[in-house]
Amino acid sequence: MRLIRMVRATLRNGTLALAGVLLATGSVFAQEPIRIGSFLSVTGPAALLGDPEQKTLEMLVERINTEGGVLGRKLQLVAYDDGADAEKARTFAKRLIDQDKVDAIVGGTTTGTTMAVVPMVEAAGTPFISLAGGVGIVDPVKKWVFKTPHTDRMACEKIFADMQGRKMSKVALISGAGGFDKSMRAECLKVAPKYGIEVVADETYGASDTDMTAQLTKIRASSAQAVLNAGFGQTPAIVTRNYRQVGLTLPLYQSHGVASMEYVKLSGPAAEGVRLPAAVLLVPELLPDNDPQKPVVTAYKRDYEARFKSDVSTFGGHAYDGLMLIVNAIKRAGSTDKAKVRDALEATKGYIGTAGVVNMSPNDHMGLDPSAFVMLEVKNGTWSLVK
């Protein structure tokens, strides 16, 4: 009898246990992680951008998970390195959508890799936040595509407004042959008349040039009152050095494409007095205490620099904003349903990020205005705010 009772009890407990297991599986099922896909140019010519982006995503996902995740679920990052190759970016985006079945994508270091992927995410209906600068990504607006960085057009406007304030009207343009440079040059030429600016010289250089004294010698002979270098990567540092070498003393403006301490270090003393538009992330300590962005950028800069022992850059900031926008949208949507997340993304209002305050709308999938930029000037080997 005792034996039978025992068997019965065991069975009953077993059933309970089984039910428990089933319940547990059920809740494990609900605990399935939220999958964030990413393709970044961690190696290759855009590594300077992709590397901090990848590091930022990893750091942020880890932090969100230790703080309890999103909607009670962990985040899982699925990241690939496209080496700035648009064809590879397409392959990886396809894998993210078809095999990894990610809930959203944050990635696309360059405008080229982003644009290669746009048709695919549009067809699949996956929310996608690009980390690239080109204005073409969100203009015209695409249903599933958003972006975090400022556009080149905004940079031109900021620079020209500064020149206008200094009563300068004749500008020499020097730009590289890369995608960013070309796009920015075109945007600058387009908006120049709005600020009463006349472009009196328009020089270009190759992507891997190591000497721009020829172009700058030509600019020296023009009637320009200021020089704008629409450039990106290491070459603007060479332009800056050559600029002083050929004895030019006109004010030199750079783009936000070089907004990192690395540019200042590479250019050395030649960078003194150079002005450029940038996100406040570079200079949190210069912000007034009541600035809403101050706590966000201070914390991110501190965390990043403590963990990776390298200077924070705006590129990592774009990745930070991208992931936070998605996370906030998922929270507001209350699910990872793609259509709901997309709608929530589009309804983002007053998100305070590293790039500025983001207010999205159905016809603005970037949500930044020119106030997100500040004008910086290099003084004594570091940044200072231009009043």
Binding site: T43, P45, A47, L48, D51, A177, T204, Y205, G206, S208, D209, T210, D211, M212, T213, A214, Q215, T217, K218, G233, Q234, A237, I238, R241, R244, Q245, V246, G247, E262, K265, L266, G268, P269, A270
Partner: protein, 291 residues
């Protein structure tokens, strides 16, 4: 106008001197093995990056430069010992493919050992430009030209006056005959890699203050050096120097008077033109029927 001309010539010659050093490396290895060493550009990068690192940890510049060149020589010798020598009996195409693989490996290792950033070396004697007749030249340009000239002088002494240098020349003319008179052609090949790596690294160190250096800066310099070697005649030392300077001048003047967007194209157009019309190059004595 005169100032502009001079400016273009000055910047062209500076770049040309570096191309010449890289081209010399190509020719030395070609002479010893009949193979083209596509890792030549990587030696340039290793020189530049090592110097930056050594200066970064506080070594005096002169010592850093010397050690950087030695480091590249060590890498060159290792490369020969580990990758080229075991495949000595293989045909030229195999050797060339091995060097391409080695170039990829070295570039990948550089990404790991260093980083993907762009680095700059302090100029050897200041950044204050020197002015003459409307042109401005950086003191570093003079270092580049002087350094290259010294290297060329040293090489011509080595090949013309020392027994081992003559042995290397003999090997390049006829490996079999050289072996028959007792020259160890294996050692010749070994030393060739060290020499080529050292020349490349010297170029890398000299140009780093002007053009910066990064893990992938060897690709373009390697290709330009190859173009220069082809232009001058592969295997000819005088040709390598002439080819390098001509290529640099063509680029400098092209950038000044046409557009520097086509600067890189100039080098490749020159390669194609030479291959079509003058397969032996300007000073190449032999007709080469190999790759």
């Amino acid at each position: 106008m005169g100032g502009q001309w001079l400016q273009y010539v000055a910047s062209g010659l500076t770049a040309g001197a570096i191309y010449a050093l890289v081209a010399l490396g190509f020719s030395i290895i070609f002479n010893a093995s009949r193979a083209i060493n596509f890792a030549q550009g990587e030696f340039v990068m290793i020189g530049g990056m090592t110097a930056v690192t050594l200066v970064g940890i506080g070594l005096p510049l002169a010592l850093a430069v010397a050690l950087a060149v030695l480091a590249a020589v060590a890498v060159g010798l290792l490369l020969e010992k580990l990758a080229i020598e075991p495949a000595r009996k293989a045909d030229t195409v195999t050797l060339i493919i091995i060097t391409i693989g080695a170039a990829l490996l070295l570039r990948g290792l550089a990404q790991l050992v260093w980083d993907k950033r762009v680095h700059s070396l302090p100029a050897f004697s200041g950044d204050a430009p020197l002015h003459f007749i409307g042109a401005t030249v950086l003191p570093q340009s003079l270092w580049v030209l002087g350094g290259a000239a010294l290297a060329v002088a040293g090489l011509s002494w080595f090949f013309g006056r020392t027994l081992f240098g003559k042995a290397m020349l003999a090997t390049s003319y006829n490996p079999l005959a050289a072996q028959l008179v007792g020259i160890n052609t294996r050692t010749v090949l070994f030393v060739s890699f060290g020499l080529a790596a050292g020349l490349g690294a010297l170029g890398g160190v000299l140009i780093a203050p002007i053009a910066f250096t990064s893990y992938d800066s060897g690709i373009m310099l390697g290709l330009k050096g190859f173009a220069a070697a082809m232009l001058g005649g592969l295997g000819s030392f005088g040709g390598a120097v002439l080819g390098g300077l001509l290529l640099g001048l063509a680029e400098g003047l092209g950038a000044g008077f046409v557009s520097s967007a086509y600067k890189d194209a100039i080098a490749f157009v020159i390669i194609l033109a030479v291959l079509f019309f003058m397969p032996g190059g300007l000073l190449g004595a032999r007709r080469s029927d190999r790759v």
